[in-house]
Symmetry: C2
Subunit: 352 residues, 2 copies
């Protein structure tokens, strides 16, 4: 074995439990729980051999995304989902020892890639009631802060950031020349986006993805929206063909079917009511969420309950080892009938 | 605009001409020129909504690749094609200032990612007749060399590395604890691989891809084969789900159709004869190749000829700005009938 660099030796391996999920009710990774628009499969069936053999061409598709989210094509960089988006931004701006401020708990890869880049991570804790720590974040931003991470709504807590708080933060970060990455993976559910601020602030990098509401996690596609000059710089660093043709064709078709997207988002809204009310009746504490998932405190038996749910074909995600989340599981919301199925199964397990 | 880190500011943007190629005869990017096994499309048609919405699961597919190339599954890391493979290896091992030895001219991304990693690149020139500079490479490897790049056969020159030379190099690199990356993107055409050395040397990282002979460039899939402990370290750094499900299903089906692969490799062999003889008759110098492409010196009118070919629907790649390749174009070989079409069109252009 050849020894990796020191920073990598010290990292904890991140190995999410992604195998053997396909025959289960997947309430563990906040994916779309029923699949993308049925038009997607038909569009993929129309692909021909040439499309597979040939390197991808992105121009038309970028135009389509741009028009869908109301920015210019020059403000978009396609990425192999959000993981590559984070990586490309860090690779473009972070030198060894640069400071990254990360409110925690949050999506793991922000920290993993910070460690690889040998950045200095300054963690800011969410409040005990899991609300966003606006004041602490504002205080944490200094001239030394190269990048600030905002996840809105936050994964795994579901916490939204108030519009006026977010604006204050971006404004202060602009003064300290701090990059603000806003991960909006779940924005179709929260119906909140900072895309409108891109023309006003050149320190903003917004991450969106087709992995969640659009139901295309398996195909890997996301994008960064930012100032056109920033996008040019990111392009020096990004692989010129990291996004695959199947993802592009699927996403293009999914964009065309906004009715389906609306239907799914509506289903999750209904599912949320079922889930929150059901858990309340079972005296299981939940926290406010604007995503398609929620954090629930199952007490000392959390892991046991997670395992029993799995035996009964329902997957949820153990988040109990994360800061502030002792005894907590993350449950994706899904459709109303899936939420009912979850509550019913939980009742059986708890004998109630 | 937020200024990128210094190393990125100094980089040349790499922006390969990948748009508008689909209606042309694509002899410019060394892809498969006719497409993958026809079984691939049928396999993709069988995918269901669940497969799109769900994060990819890799275990079965890794087992299949391992058995196909005769290594153990623990010796494989899937990557979003070779670009990510290079990136992950650099990210795992390279610290700022570490030395990477690169024989040039070669595949651009080895240099691009070295610059991003702020590595010190020591370039070693191929010989003027484009043969592999074994002695110079052996001399270049010292205790200070963290990584040596070998591309076999080399892109864009097509140059093979003799088995005994390669062995000598890997042996010396093992003594200096130098990682040897061998990019074997075209090994199905050269029918030479160093996979058999993985059990003997723990400093070897072999890159293979489904983008070339298998005809799946559009779907983005490759892998790294190395010592199991190295693979474990790479996994700390790699995104846990960078490879998409469509690529995996397509590649799995393509592996099952070895007859088709053999047929295509045979076609390229025939095409090579047609191309080499045709160019010889036209007094255009070519260089020995074991890949599915060759370098040809078209003299002062190289760019003009490239443009005229494009007007007539045939794409070739200008490589004339690269070291040693003044006046040279790279021509992918394709099938015998495509090679005939190329020679016929070239004759017309040259008025011969």
């Amino acid at each position: 074995m050849i020894l990796p660099k020191k920073a990598v030796q010290e990292m904890e391996p991140y190995d999410p439990p992604l195998e053997g999920r396909r025959d289960k009710l997947r309430l563990d990774f906040s994916e779309n729980t029923v699949g993308p628009s049925p038009r997607v499969l038909k569009a993929l069936e129309k692909l021909n051999d040439n499309e597979f053999a040939c390197y991808p061409e992105y121009t038309k598709f970028i135009n389509k995304i741009a028009s869908n989210i109301n920015v210019s094509p020059q403000e978009i960089l396609l990425t192999n989902a959000s993981d590559e988006a984070i990586k490309v931004i860090y690779d473009t701006y972070i030198e060894k020892g640069d400071e990254i401020v990360i409110p925690i708990p949050t999506f793991t890869m922000f920290r993993v890639y910070a460690d690889i880049a040998e950045a200095k991570v300054k963690s800011v804790s969410y409040a005990k009631n899991l609300t966003f720590p606006t004041k602490k974040v504002l205080d944490a931003i200094t001239k030394k802060t190269k990048i600030l991470i905002l996840v809105n709504p936050n994964n795994p807590t579901g916490t939204p950031i108030e519009k006026k708080d977010l604006f204050k933060i971006v404004e202060k970060a602009a003064k300290t020349e701090t990059i603000v990455i806003i991960d909006e993976a779940y924005y179709q559910f929260s119906e909140e986006t900072a895309l409108g601020l891109i023309g006003k602030f050149d320190n903003l990098f917004i991450l969106q993805t087709f992995s969640k509401a659009y139901g295309l996690a398996g195909l890997r596609l996301g994008y960064i929206a930012s100032d056109p000059d920033n996008i040019k710089n990111l392009k020096r660093v990004a692989s010129p063909y990291s996004v695959n043709t199947a993802a592009m064709v699927a996403a293009s078709t999914a964009i065309d079917d906004q009715d389906y997207l609306k239907w799914y988002v509506g289903e999750v809204k209904k599912g949320k009511k079922v889930l929150e009310e059901g858990l309340k009746q079972l005296k299981i504490k939940t926290f406010p969420t604007t995503g398609n998932f929620l954090i629930a405190n199952f007490g000392k038996k959390a892991i046991e309950i997670k395992d029993q749910l799995k035996e009964k074909g329902i997957l949820v995600r153990d988040r109990s080892h994360l800061p502030l989340l002792k005894d907590c599981l993350r449950v994706s919301i899904g459709t109303s009938s899936q939420a009912k199925q979850f509550i019913q199964t939980l009742r059986e397990i708890l004998g109630k």
